[in-house]
C-alpha cells in the first residue's frame, strides 16, 4: 500500500499515541471536574449554600404587637401603634447641603447633630431619629436619599394621660415596660417576637415562605379592674383638693368591697406618660402603693375591733379618758377634746387617743401584733405591682408599753394607703379580709375571716357615728347613701422625729352602710392651713364616693334630704 493509494481512499492512518493522548487528556479533565465537583458538593457545600441563600433568602423579624390595656368596660388605656424610626449607614450617605438641611428639618434635629451622627463611617448602623411621626417618616422616604432607611417600631400611647399615669406606668423606646403595670405584666403584654425565612425576588418582594423559624405571638390584652370614669372623677377631685389645700401630694384608692377589685387609684402630682421629657422622682411615685405613712387615727377602728372581739368590752362600755392627758414613761398622750368617760363608740366617734390607748393596753401585745399582722400590715400586698411597700410593723417582743399605746391610734407603725384601704374590707363584709386585685375579676372574693360578723357590724355602726354631727368627719356624708368612715390626722415623720407643723390628713370610709359596696381611702400630704382629716380629706371622700355610687348604680339607703349642717365646732381628732 502506498501513500498515494491511502490518500485516494480518503483514509490517513494516524499514529495510535495521538488517540491515547486525547483519551488521557479527556479522562484527566473529567477527573479534575469530578474532584472539583466532589470538593464543592461535599466539602464547600455549606459555605456555598450560605452564599447562595444570602442572595435571595432573608430572615424576617416578625415583631409581636404589645397587648392593649383596657379598663373594666373595654375602654382603651394603653395602645401601641406603629411609628417609624429613621436609621442610616453612614458610609453610604452622600448628601447635598440642601438635602441635608431638608432631612434635618424633617427629623427635627439640628444639622450639626445630624453631621455628628453621620460622621462615623466605620459604623454600619446609626439611628438618626427614633419614633418619628408617620407623616415626617413618609416625607423622608419620598426624598429617596441613599443610605437612609426606615424601620417600623411601636410606640405606646396613653389616652387618659396623667389620670392613669401611676397605675399603668410606661414603656421605654423598645416598647418594654419600665414602670407600673406595664412592667408588672411585661411577660404577657409583650408577647414574643417571631422570625421566618423567606425568598425575596429581585424587587425585594417576598415570593416564598421557606420556613417559619418561630411564630410571633402577640401580647395578650390586659383588662384592668379600674373603671375609667371613677378613675377620672377621683383624679379630678384629688387634684382639686391638693391645689385647694396647697398640699405637697395626695393619693386616693377606691375598692370594690365585695370583689376586692381596685376601681380607681389616683396620685397627685402626676405626669403625662405620653411626653416624659421632664420627669421628677416626686411625680413618678405611686403613693398609694409604694409610699408609707403613719396612718394616725384611721387605725383606731382596728384596735376597737380587736377589743370587741376579745369580749372584754361592748360598744357601750365606758372608758375613762379624763383629764385628757395620760403619761406613760416620758411620753404624754393627749386628747384635743378632753372628756370624762367615753363609751367605746364615742372613743371612735370623738377619736380619743387616750381611749384607744387604754383599750390597747388592756390586751396582750401579742394579740395586737397578731391582728395587725393578719390585716397585712408589715407585709407587701400581693398585687403583682412593682415596688409595693410592705410597711413597718415591729415584732411585738420589742414593744414597750408606750409603743403599744401609740400604735393603737396609728403611730409607730407605717402602712401604705392601699394596705389601709384593704384592711377596712373587714368592716365592709362579715369580717373577711378580701384579697385585692388590679385585674377585672367580678367574682366575689373570699379571704381570711378576722373578726366575727357581729364585731364587723358593730364597728361599722361606730364608723357611721363618726361621720354624723358630733363625730370627727361629718363632711364625709353624702345625700342618698349612708356612709361610715374614720378621719386621720398625723404628724409627719421627719428625721426620726415628728415634725410639729407638718401633717398627713387622711380619711378611709365605706358606703352604703346597709350593704357596703365601695371603700375609698384618701390621703393628703402636708396640707397648708387646715390640716385635719375631717376638713381636708373627708370632702374628697364624699365627692368621689357620691360619684362612684351613682356610676355603679348602687341603690339609695338613706332619705334623699339635705344633710343636716354640722355645728361649726365639729370635734377634731387628736394628732
Amino acid at each position: 500500500m502506498t501513500a498515494g493509494s491511502v490518500a485516494a481512499q480518503g483514509l490517513v492512518r494516524l499514529p495510535v499515541w495521538r488517540a491515547r493522548v486525547v483519551l488521557v487528556a479527556l479522562i484527566g479533565a473529567f477527573s479534575v471536574l469530578t474532584v472539583r465537583a466532589v470538593y464543592l458538593q461535599a466539602v464547600k457545600m455549606d459555605f456555598l449554600q450560605e452564599k447562595g441563600d444570602a442572595r435571595y433568602s432573608r430572615v424576617l423579624e416578625m415583631p409581636a404587637t404589645r397587648g392593649r390595656i383596657t379598663d373594666r368596660h373595654g375602654e382603651a388605656l394603653a395602645v401601641s401603634t406603629p411609628v417609624k424610626s429613621i436609621w442610616a449607614i453612614p458610609a453610604d450617605v452622600q448628601l447635598k447641603p440642601a438635602q441635608r438641611k431638608g432631612l434635618a428639618r424633617l427629623l427635627g434635629v439640628s444639622t450639626r447633630e445630624l453631621d455628628r451622627k453621620l460622621a462615623e463611617p466605620e459604623r454600619d448602623f446609626v439611628y438618626l431619629k427614633r419614633q418619628l411621626a408617620p407623616e415626617a417618616a413618609e416625607a423622608i422616604a419620598r426624598l429617596r436619599l441613599p443610605g437612609i432607611y426606615e424601620q417600623r417600631e411601636y410606640r405606646r400611647y396613653y389616652p387618659a394621660g396623667e389620670v392613669t399615669a401611676h397605675l399603668l406606668g410606661f414603656t421605654d423606646v423598645e416598647d418594654v415596660g419600665q414602670e407600673g403595670l406595664e412592667l408588672a405584666y411585661q411577660q404577657s403584654l409583650g408577647g414574643t417576637r417571631g422570625s421566618r425565612r423567606v425568598i425575596k425576588d429581585r424587587l425585594g418582594q417576598v415570593v416564598e415562605d421557606v420556613q417559619s423559624i418561630r411564630a410571633a405571638q402577640d401580647g395578650v390584652d390586659l383588662t384592668l379592674s379600674i373603671d375609667s370614669k371613677i378613675q377620672s372623677v377621683a383624679f379630678a377631685a384629688l387634684k382639686a383638693a391638693v391645689e385647694r389645700h396647697r398640699a405637697k401630694a395626695g393619693a386616693l384608692v377606691a375598692l370594690d368591697a365585695r370583689t376586692g377589685e381596685v376601681l380607681a387609684l389616683a396620685n397627685v402630682p402626676s405626669y403625662n406618660p405620653n411626653n416624659r421629657a421632664q420627669l421628677s422622682g416626686a411625680e413618678l411615685r405611686n403613693r398609694v402603693i409604694t409610699d408609707l405613712f403613719e396612718p394616725g387615727s384611721t387605725l383606731k377602728p382596728f384596735t376597737i375591733a380587736l377589743a370587741l372581739e376579745s369580749g372584754k368590752v361592748t360598744p357601750q362600755t365606758l372608758v375613762a379618758t379624763a383629764p385628757g392627758r395620760m403619761t406613760l414613761a416620758h411620753y404624754t398622750i393627749r386628747d384635743v377634746h378632753p372628756a370624762g368617760a367615753l363609751t367605746v363608740t364615742q372613743v371612735l366617734q370623738k377619736s380619743s387617743n387616750i381611749g384607744a390607748a387604754k383599750l390597747a393596753l388592756a390586751m396582750p401585745s401579742e394579740a395586737l401584733w397578731g391582728f395587725y399582722d393578719h390585716l397585712g400590715f408589715g407585709r407587701a400586698p400581693q398585687l403583682g405591682f412593682p415596688g409595693a411597700a410592705a410597711g413597718r410593723l415591729r415584732p411585738h417582743r420589742s414593744w414597750r408599753p408606750i409603743e403599744q399605746a401609740t400604735m393603737a391610734y396609728g403611730h409607730g407603725i407605717s402602712v401604705s394607703l392601699i394596705q389601709l384601704a384593704r384592711a377596712y374590707t373587714i368592716f365592709a363584709g362579715d369580717g373577711e379580709l378580701v384579697p385585692l386585685t388590679l385585674v377585672k375579676s367580678e367574682l366575689a372574693a373570699h379571704g381570711e375571716k378576722l373578726v366575727s360578723t357581729e364585731t364587723a357590724g358593730a364597728v361599722r355602726a361606730m364608723l357611721e357615728a363618726a361621720v354624723q354631727p358630733g363625730g370627727t368627719g361629718p363632711r364625709a356624708r353624702i345625700i342618698g347613701w349612708r356612709v361610715a368612715g374614720k378621719t386621720g390626722t398625723a404628724h409627719k415623720q421627719e428625721n426620726g422625729g415628728y415634725a410639729a407643723d407638718k401633717y398627713i390628713a387622711s380619711f378611709v370610709g365605706l358606703a352604703p352602710v346597709s350593704a357596703p359596696r365601695v371603700i375609698i381611702a384618701v390621703m393628703l400630704d402636708e396640707p397648708a392651713g387646715e390640716y385635719y382629716g375631717g376638713s381636708v380629706a373627708a370632702p374628697v371622700f364624699a365627692e368621689v364616693m357620691q360619684a362612684t355610687l351613682r356610676l355603679l348604680g348602687v341603690p339609695h339607703d338613706a332619705p334623699l334630704e339635705p344633710l343636716p349642717q354640722p355645728a361649726s365646732d365639729a370635734p377634731r381628732e387628736s394628732t
Binding site: T65, R68, E75, A76, L77, V79, S80, T81, P82, Y157, P159, A160, V163, Q205, V206, V207, E208, D209, S228, K229, Q231, S232, V233, A236, I478, I479, G480, Q546, R550, G553, P555, H556, L560, E561
Partner: protein, 90 residues
C-alpha cells in the same frame, strides 16, 4: 425504542413546564397571601388607632367639661333621681 424515548421526552418537557407553571402560580398566590396578611396587620393597627382616638375623645374629663361648659348640663340632684330595682322595671 426511539418512539418510546420521544414520548418520554415529551412527557418530561410537559412535566417540567407544569412544574414551572405551578411554581409560578404558587409564588403569585403566596404574594397575594402576603399582601392580605399585611392588610390584616394594617387593619389591626388602624383598629388600635381608632380605639385610641375613641378613648381620647371619650375621656370622662373631656365629656364632663363639654357637658358642663358648652351644653350647660349638670348632675341631677340626688333627690331627683329614682332608682328602680331591676325586676320592677321588667
Amino acid at each position: 425504542m426511539a418512539k418510546l424515548n420521544l414520548l418520554l421526552l415529551a412527557v418530561l418537557v410537559a412535566c417540567a413546564l407544569g412544574l414551572v407553571t405551578s411554581q409560578h402560580k404558587a409564588r403569585k398566590l403566596f404574594s397575594a397571601l402576603e399582601r392580605e396578611h399585611e392588610h390584616a396587620r394594617e387593619l389591626d393597627v388602624e383598629y388600635g388607632r381608632l380605639q385610641l382616638e375613641a378613648s381620647t375623645w371619650g375621656q370622662h374629663s373631656r365629656v364632663a367639661r363639654i357637658a358642663a361648659g358648652t351644653l350647660g348640663l349638670r348632675v341631677p340632684d340626688a333627690r331627683r333621681v329614682r332608682l328602680l330595682a331591676r325586676d320592677n322595671a321588667q
